[in-house]
Amino acid sequence: MTLTDFQHLMPLLILTFAVLVSMLVIAVGRNHKIMYVITAVSFLAAFASLFELRDVGRYTIEPLLVVDGFGVFYIGMILLTALLISMLSYAYFEQREERKEEYYILLLLATIGACVLVISTHFASLFLGLEILSVSLYALIAYLRTRERSDEAGIKYLILAAFSSAFLLFGMALVYASTGTMEFAGIATAIANFTELPLLLLTGFGLMIVGIGFKLSVVPFHMWAPDVYEGAPAPVTAFIATVSKGGVLGVLIRFFMEVDGFRYPTLVLIFTIVAIASMLAGNLLALLQRNVKRILAYSSIAHLGYLLVAFLTGNQMGVEAVTFYLVAYFITTVGAFGVVAMLSDKERDAEQLEDYRALLWRRPWTAAVFTVMLLSLAGIPLTAGFVGKFYILAAGVNTQLWLLVVMLALNSVIGLFYYIRIVAVMFQQADAEVEMEPRGRLRPSIYLASVGTLTILTLLLVYIGVYPTGLLQVIEGMLAVATP
């Protein structure tokens, strides 16, 4: 590796370095605040180093990685999200008894995994990235060991993720067997002449889709999501819903654009079915839930279905739509779980609908933030979610995927049911006149960290919803160089 290679991998190196430093610091002495600062600073530094790479064009680090506009944008998105999550985590873990310092190491590691995913251009780096991400998540999910559900969630995720990795590996092996290469570009040239996929290759792709599908928690590979969302600590849930899924989606887009998988009707059919099933199952099952974290889990399944609609258009506009929607979805999801984290107490997370009754009159600001987040998930104007949904619909109509587009519209309506139900619960009058809750249960500095993060997220969401031009320009500019 040359020096320029290192320069192009600077964000990853910074994070790796931060992990090492963190471990040493813990060895010297445990201090939550110092760990938190190290994490936040390293995320910020890694993000700052991305500005060097903005106009990178397409820089390949043979044979594993490629740094291009697409990758840089996705890394940036992942880093910022991880930063916000770490800010929320600080307040969340501060009030809990567990040893909290290792949490940040795992968070950093998982973020590295996701970053590797979005710049990988080879099966080996793909798998490495995925495993770094998954293994960190095993521990993160079960981090609060004394909690009732956390072991269940951790073990469930461990077993299913291991299974899905096995599927993925087997699929890769089959693809390798029939093409003789593990590089995306090599596979692309190897299958360029096929109009129809041979059976072996199709099986290979199919098995890989199973593996990827598990990570994305799309139907029919979604069973783990509600349990894991429910059992994991709220910030970790936010991480799974955003960074982990975003990273996997990034590599999926890169792979498919590279090998032009949209040429094959079989693959398109599979993804179409998966998308429709995810939208329908996610939204319909969410209707039956009374637990906010489970509702958000099913809603994220549905949102992955929406994203697949834009993905299926298979053109530049579709990729842009996916990216834009991801940004909106990241902000919204982190915000929503941030509210959950903020309302949670020592023993359990605020996950029952009952916990939110009359919230508007008890904690108006928190309730307002949550309302904005839910409305954005539902795709109501003035929020980023609306513009994102509009973009996806536009991309779908442009490519004339009428079935998918109509399903998306229909599902948006079903989705409204449960988002609005949460909002309605928050706006309900309390039975007795409730007092405003005292603010300073935590130390004010910690309280400010969460409130500040949520405020930033809300403002960002409304800003993108009202004036999306800026973000659109960035996305178009960065992604233009990415797709050949």
């Binding site: 009159w361 409305l375 109501i380 104007p381 003035l382 609306f386 509009f390 619909l393 536009a394 109509v397 442009n398 587009v405 109509v406 519209a409 229909l410 948006s412 309506v413 409204l416 049911f417 609005i420 309605a424 706006f427 309900q428 009058q429 004036y467 999306p468 031009t469 659109l472 320009q473 178009e476």
Partner: protein, 525 residues
């Protein structure tokens, strides 16, 4: 720029009202009153300073500012006679809504006025915008605050009603969004210019099949909002559960956005498809007129009763719109205004009664004519308006609509006229049950106080003005109606629509109209 101010003042007023609630409980009311008064004054000024019949173009003011240039979305506002009338109605009713909430709303006052002003802002946006993306945007913006108005300050079954209202309108709105996108891409492919501008999209040539599908997308949103009979079931719930101000805005304004959408978008965008669909639409209209009247007659809940009369009256709107002639469209515009006033007034009276008696059940009322004569007279005026007594605005509206629809479809017009007879029956029943018969109430019924008279008298004055001298309103609406009908030139514009009704202005008016007609024919816009 003044158009932008209309929206900005309302939105800023809403935020200010919400914040000011922390300082003083009464402050939000005054802020709301002040902002609505300000926009009302501005609109009145616009109306008075633009002598419409002498302009060459239908458009009075335009405002254009790129918003999302990548997608060809502009912040494009424009005002013509139709929008102007709708805005006057919006702010007039908005003013009344603030006033009637003065005593009725006692909890969360600040948040209430925030929502009230934002609904008004959304409606203002809908009436002004000439960019389809922006139109959908405002179409949705008015939903959320309305949902809260019903869901928080409504009556006993409020959450169900709010939910139903939201889902119906949202679902139909999404279909419209799909149609808008379809239109956008078809136009973009044809001309290479991807834009949501209304004026550009008017020039799209559509294959009959595509036009039909897209038209149904738009119709879905507007027919649900209007509402037309199979899609009306949200309306009685929403209207009867909303607080008085909410009911007034729902009946007076939100329904009108549906009618406005039909006039502004469906007619000019899909001229051939609408002609095909017209008989069915008119049939739906007539079914609505009769069905609404029958159900109105059988209600015991006063607000539900008034809600069903809306269904009936809105039947005339769709009947008129799909007649495609100037008579009928003038009637529709008049109907939008007069129905907004008369139904709004009936809801306000229902609100007065509810404040005093805490019931909406007309079985329990009776004999209030002697105890509350002022209220009785006011109610009588608006009940008579609702059965379209000559001399009141509704008569002009329904008469013009029927004259127009007769030229389009004789038989359906005959059945629609039966609706007028049925309107008499249900309207008189309101008077009968509440103000005559024996008084079954033990508690005394105080008559209207000064504030309530302040609300009621302008409404009476307006409905009388509209009934006795509608010419200014018809003049204001005419150029834009002709604009909407341009695609239907096969049916020649009727000679001098209103001059026969008001003979004193006949001569000058004929000359003016001819000038306008000439001008609008030569004008490429």
């Amino acid at each position: 720029m003044i158009l932008v101010w209309l929206i900005v003042i309302l939105m800023a007023g809403g935020v200010l009202a919400w914040i000011s609630g922390k300082i003083n409980r009464a402050l939000p009311r005054w802020i709301a009153l002040g902002s609505v008064l300000a926009v009302f004054g501005m609109t009145l000024y616009l109306w008075l300073s633009n002598p419409i019949p002498v302009l060459d173009s239908a458009w009075l003011i335009q405002f254009n500012q790129p918003w999302i240039p990548q997608w060809g979305i502009d912040f494009r506002l424009a005002l013509d006679g139709l929008s102007l009338l709708m805005l006057l109605l919006t702010f007039f009713l908005g003013l009344l809504s603030v006033l009637i909430s003065w005593r009725e709303i006692q909890t969360k006052v600040a948040f209430f006025h925030f929502n009230l002003l934002w609904v008004l802002a959304g409606i203002t946006g809908v009436f002004l915008t000439m960019d389809l993306f922006l139109f959908y945007f405002f179409w949705e913006v008015m939903l959320i605050p309305m949902y809260f108005l019903i869901g928080i300050w409504g009556h006993e079954n409020r959450r169900y009603a709010a939910f139903k209202f939201f889902l119906f309108t949202q679902a139909s709105g999404l279909l419209m969004l799909l149609a808008i996108l379809g239109l956008y891409f078809i136009h973009g492919r044809q001309t290479g210019l991807y834009t949501f501008s209304y004026f550009e999209l008017l020039n799209t040539t559509l294959a009959p099949e595509a036009a039909r599908l897209l038209m149904f997308g738009f119709l879905a949103a507007f027919l649900v909002k209007l509402p037309v009979v199979p899609f009306h079931s949200w309306l009685p719930d929403a209207h009867s559960q909303a607080p008085t101000a909410g009911s007034v805005i729902l009946a007076g304004l939100l329904l009108k956005t549906g009618a406005y959408g039909l006039l502004r978008f469906v007619l000019p965008l899909f001229p051939t498809a609408t002609v095909e669909f017209a008989p069915w639409a008119m049939l739906l209209g007539v079914i609505g007129i009769i069905y609404g009247a029958i159900l109105a007659f059988s209600q015991t809940d006063l607000k539900r009763l008034v809600a069903y009369t809306s269904v009936s009256h809105m039947g005339f709107v769709i009947l008129g719109v799909f007649s495609f002639n100037e008579w009928a469209l003038q009637g529709v515009v008049m109907q939008m205004i007069t129905h907004g006033l008369s139904t709004g007034a009936l809801f306000i009276i229902a609100g007065f009664l509810y404040e005093r008696l805490h019931t909406r059940d007309i079985q329990k009322m009776g004999g209030f004519w002697t105890t509350a004569p002022k209220m009785g007279v006011i109610a009588l005026v608006f009940v008579m308006a609702s059965l379209s007594l000559p001399g009141l605005g509704n008569f002009i509206a329904e008469f013009l609509t029927l004259v127009g629809s007769w030229q389009a479809n004789n038989w359906l017009t005959v059945f629609a006229t039966i609706g007028l007879v049925m309107a008499t029956i249900y309207s008189l029943r309101i008077m009968q049950k509440i103000f005559f018969e024996a008084n079954r109430m033990e508690q005394a019924l105080p008559d209207l106080n000064a504030r309530e008279m302040l609300i009621a008298i302008p409404m009476v004055a307006m409905i009388l003005w509209l009934g006795l001298y509608p010419q200014p309103f018809l003049d204001t609406a005419r150029p834009s109606i002709q604009e909407q009908l341009q695609a239907y030139t096969a049916s020649p514009p009727p000679p001098v629509a209103m001059s026969q009704l008001t003979p004193q202005v006949q001569l000058t008016d004929t000359i003016r109209l001819n000038q306008i007609l000439k001008a609008s024919r030569h004008d490429p816009d």
